[in-house]
Symmetry: C2
Subunit: 389 residues, 2 copies
Amino acid sequence: MTVTTPAGFRSAGIAVGLKSTGKPDLALVVNDGPVPASAAVFTSNRAQANPILWSRKVAQEGPARAIILNSGGANCFTGDFGYDTTRLTADAVAAALTASGTATESEEILVCSTGLIGTGDQAFRDKIVGGVPELFNRLSATDTTAPAAILTTDSVEKTATHTGAGWTIGAMAKGAGMLAPGLATMLVVITTDAQLDSDALDRALRCATGASFDRLDSDGCMSTNDQVTLLASGASGVTPDEAEFAAALAAVCDSLAAQLQADAEGASHDIDIEVRGAASVADAIEVGRSVARNNLFKAAIFGNDPNWGRVLAAIGTTDAAFDPYQVDVSFNGIRLCHAGAPDRPIGECDLTPRRTHVEIELFAGEHAATIRTNDLTHDYVHENSAYSS
Amino acid sequence: MTVTTPAGFRSAGIAVGLKSTGKPDLALVVNDGPVPASAAVFTSNRAQANPILWSRKVAQEGPARAIILNSGGANCFTGDFGYDTTRLTADAVAAALTASGTATESEEILVCSTGLIGTGDQAFRDKIVGGVPELFNRLSATDTTAPAAILTTDSVEKTATHTGAGWTIGAMAKGAGMLAPGLATMLVVITTDAQLDSDALDRALRCATGASFDRLDSDGCMSTNDQVTLLASGASGVTPDEAEFAAALAAVCDSLAAQLQADAEGASHDIDIEVRGAASVADAIEVGRSVARNNLFKAAIFGNDPNWGRVLAAIGTTDAAFDPYQVDVSFNGIRLCHAGAPDRPIGECDLTPRRTHVEIELFAGEHAATIRTNDLTHDYVHENSAYSS
């Protein structure tokens, strides 16, 4: 169980033929309350898919009662027809909920899509809208099929749970490429039976995503379809301490971010770029991100080459406060560059393990941040050139 | 002949053992006047190699009499020792010039280095400084050996010339990776026998590089060692119209930029991203650069996939003025996206030719710019993971 771990939720996942492989491609999560609340954060890309345009409105107006997600097509840049498809999808879910006894408006249904941009024709619409009745019939409070139905090029399902004092959190995520900030390219659904209002959920969610998904930058490419949704049912009857809930939510998001990093398309290294001694957290993030986005650095890591020169060349492009000639750079605990000059021999550094730790000490302050990224590999090029996405 | 095409210049290139291959790795260009003038532009990376730190001072103080360039080591992040190496190199050239009858200060000698960051030990210094006498003896007004001595991973020499009314321009360049703005990673030496003062040269050079090298963004990685130098001898006795000279210089720089693009490491496509209908040139450049730096787009082009969705996802991350849902995108003349929705079938578009033209119409104004880039290929990953640079 994942999103159904907390009480008050049912979910399901089925195949409606959006994926040519015949794998599951449509998922639904219903919040049965009794005290529904919700919050969501969206991609900051100005090019936004139709489900994002729709879901932003839903998220603004009040608690969402359900979220429906499809893989196998992004419904992005598909024009008014695509927007109508999203609305008709919400209509179908609202109608099914209403028919089952819970009067629901379409404007209470979040919609997410993921897959190839430009995909969203009549057949796409018919498969999704036509699939809603069966999907609704499959809803279960012990469901385990939803996480698989939201995957695209992911190789594994990503889920996380947390157990608090009388309340729980459950989550599922998809994302294996286009992982970049504000947010990484992904869909995430998080559920909780804690009793919290939407404002409290929103504060906790923004804090948690800012320190997890927003610091994951696998390939610098920002998606058009990102959405992280948090649904609370209140079914536990417990209202946790807000700080305690926020910490638990942050841990769940951090776990999912690590899973997304570990499953990034074609990657052979998971690289944590830890920036220390920064004048501000923003500086630490900017410095870390400049390295995470540097193709020469990323290719070097693929080749197990601890090329600290490429790190310095990358961070020199930032506006962060530091003296490039005072910086220390370590790879996997070996300090290869001290005060902007060679230190230990690079032969002492072993980059063959998948986990790679790059530590950059700026000597400019007391702040720190870690950016997660991956290396640039032949498999990355292959996956992103041989297949449209 | 290249940098020696204009009267008043001598050059030479020799091998001093900096490259393990034994290929030429040290070049010298001497400006014999009679009216020497010079201008130079440098990398905007804050991480700057020792020769950049040195040459900035030389360029500020007045006409340079010579420029010495080595490949096989960047002399960057090599500390005070590395800076002393650069100064000693300039000392050696100044001494040789003075001994030959032209009294010259070290502060009139520009120095450039290119190769692996962190390289610049005693052996590196000894080979360069020790090589200056032989290099000086090889100087010739009909030299053709200098262009080869500045290459690193380049597969071909890059040269360009222009013939004006009684005056000429000659140029040589190196650069095959780390090509990114402000400037691309490269060394360029341009000579002219036109009689112009350093201020006029500076104006023409900044204008020419802004519209050529600054719009070349092969892999988004900014170098620590970039330098473009323009030396004028005045040997023709002709002072050209400044606008005419600027246009000729721009054409020379544009030719070199195209040659750098065509020789980019591992590339299989030369991609010109033409942004039209922008509210400003700055907007057009920002939009074009966002596409040029998008790995998913670049990998798609490698796979001959005209993935216009990735273009829209990339430009949506910019702050440029436009409506993402009104944009047109064409690949090689076929409009695949109209008003932010699918237009012609992608099957009509043939991306097998090396030259690729992506046209983005923003419908937001009257300005335009073209950014040159390359695709992301297996060979790029191989060259930048298997070898340090």
